[in-house]
């Protein structure tokens, strides 16, 4: 039996985002769930499922869901887990929640991500660390460290450089994505870069982090929490806000070497999601794509087939994904210019657009949204097709 249209997102909770200090990830998570319940018109007693994607700063990752259950006084859950498949986790959590609801195991599942990796700025004169981008995370050990290869930025940069070599992709292309997302952020009061415009020249002037990535190729680091409530379509229709129906879903985890394939798990995930939803690319009104880097957006556009493989650069160069373009992408400013809640950022923006809550950035007649999550080094992928009707 198809899950198409049988479940819906009924509640959305977004805490304050960005340089918000003094709160623990647990506190952010609890606040996000409370906001999502208020939004849906539900109470704690209605929640019988809880899925948690703990960010980097949680600490004891394995018990995050239990910690949150205790902190919120949630009783008699029928489903709970802490989950991690990188940036695909958020969309995956929605999928597991939908499975639990459609099969009758649960009636309302809260899915939440939170993190608080940003620390307050140190006094002037003191040495500054990381540098404000995802580069703050210094992974790397053993031989890689001996060669100076640290962090996720560096690994994605290797993939991007190979894409540039093979397909002629340039920093002009990557910059077009950064600029487009900033233009969307300038229309979103909740975006960290709401008040800061960016031109292509600004992009080129921004410092290099790891060539071929400028600072503005890399996603933000944000403190905050974000939660959604998934319930049955029937029940969602009786709740406070318009249901955002889950039409289709899929995952794809290719397992190859991304530097060689230059391809994400999107093709596999899309196949299942679009078949379930009964949609084609032409039906997509807004695309909310996982953007840990500008480059990830480029590859994802190729892998869903919005353009041919290798043609992502020319596809974005003309402003086609910016406000007024043919394909609105990351309409809230995305994780590059709004806030980085791993894959929860694109999900939240799809809900906002499909409810018509986008204000100055609202895309007219947005009825079907594509949402992607991507994790690892193009290693994990999850797709949601969300819609105003089923």
């Amino acid at each position: 039996m198809s899950l198409r249209g049988r479940t819906a997102i009924a509640g959305l909770g977004i805490t304050e985002q960005g340089k918000v200090y003094g709160r623990t990830p647990l506190a952010f998570a609890a606040e996000a769930v409370r906001l999502a319940l208020d939004d849906a018109g539900l109470t704690r007693a209605d929640v019988d499922g809880l899925l948690v994607n703990p960010g980097l700063s949680w600490g004891d990752l394995g018990m995050a869901s239990f910690q949150l259950q205790q902190a919120m006084g949630l009783r008699d859950l029928r489903l709970t887990s802490s989950m991690n498949s990188g940036g695909a986790t958020a969309a995956s959590m929605i999928q597991y929640a939908a499975l639990a609801i459609a099969s009758g195991q649960c009636r309302a599942v809260a899915c939440v991500f939170s993190d608080a990796p940003l620390k307050p700025p140190r006094p002037a004169g003191e040495a500054k660390g990381g540098g404000g981008s995802a580069g703050a995370y210094a992974f790397g050990r053993g031989l890689d460290a001996a060669y100076g290869q640290f962090g996720v930025n560096a690994m994605y940069a290797m993939v991007a450089q190979r894409h540039m070599h093979r397909y002629g992709t340039t920093n002009e292309h990557l910059g077009a994505i950064a600029v487009a997302e900033r233009q969307w952020a300038n229309r979103n009061p909740a975006a960290q870069f709401h008040d800061t415009p960016m031109t292509l020249a600004d992009y080129h002037r921004s410092r290099w982090v790891v060539e071929p990535f400028h600072l503005f190729d890399c996603c933000l680091v944000s403190n905050g929490g974000l939660a959604v409530i998934v319930t049955s379509a029937e029940r969602a229709r009786d709740l406070r806000r318009p249901p955002v129906y889950l039409l289709g879903m899929g995952q794809g985890h290719p397992g190859g070497d991304p530097v060689e394939t230059l391809t994400s798990g999107a093709p596999l995930a899309k196949e299942a999601a679009f078949a379930m939803a009964g949609v084609a690319l032409a039906d997509i009104d807004v695309a909310e794509l996982y953007d840990c880097y500008t480059f990830t957006v480029l590859v994802t556009l190729e892998d869903y087939g919005f353009c041919a493989k290798g043609e992502g650069g020319p596809f974005v160069a003309g402003g086609g994904i910016a406000p007024g373009g043919a394909l609105p992408v990351n309409t809230g400013g995305g994780q590059l210019s709004a806030f980085y809640m791993w894959g929860m950022t694109p999900i939240s923006e799809a809900v906002i657009q499909l409810r018509g809550d986008g204000g100055a950035r609202q895309v007219a007649d947005a009825r079907v949204a594509l949402v992607s999550g991507n994790g690892g080094i193009l290693s994990t992928h999850a797709t949601l097709v969300l819609a105003t009707q089923c």
């Binding site: 210094a138 790397g140 031989l143 100076g148 290869q149 640290f150 450089q161 070599h165 290099w208 982090v209």
Partner: protein, 137 residues
């Protein structure tokens, strides 16, 4: 991995990687070869992802290859590299198959190109650790 004061990180010689470091000390670049199917792999792994055999040996390769990809690090992630930024990290496609992360020496960071032929050179870090690096061939 240990970090001498103000120096670069020196990789720990793990049991799995010991044959690699022993080879490097003698200026021999080694990779792992599966005794089940003959596939080469690097860095060391407990089992072959091609045939799942856990039986393997280390063999010397030519040290020749080409740049498969690269990046130029501008951000300082470790104080040992502070004086060198921007520096280049390369992904070398060895002639025999496996790819390895390394550094390119004897060339300006911005002169590196994908497809550039390279050969291995060795840099002694300590009595125990010699690090294979690459230079334009």
């Amino acid at each position: 991995m240990s970090t001498p004061a103000a120096g670069k990180p020196i990789p720990a010689i793990t049991p799995e990687m010991r044959p690699f470091f022993e080879g490097a000390r003698r200026h021999e670049l080694r990779v792992q070869r599966c005794r089940g199917c003959g596939a080469l792999r690097f860095p060391a792994r407990a089992l072959c992802s091609a045939c799942l055999s856990t039986d393997s040996e280390w063999i010397a390769v030519s040290g020749r290859g080409e740049i498969y990809s690269f990046n130029v690090m501008h951000q300082v992630y470790h104080p040992g590299f502070a004086a060198e930024v921007p520096y280049t990290v390369v992904l070398v496609q060895l002639a025999e198959g496996p790819r390895m992360i390394s550094n390119l020496v004897g060339i300006d960071a911005h002169a590196v190109r994908v497809g550039m032929p390279v050969r291995v050179v060795f840099e002694t870090l300590s009595d125990e650790v010699t690090l294979p690096k690459f230079t334009p061939a």
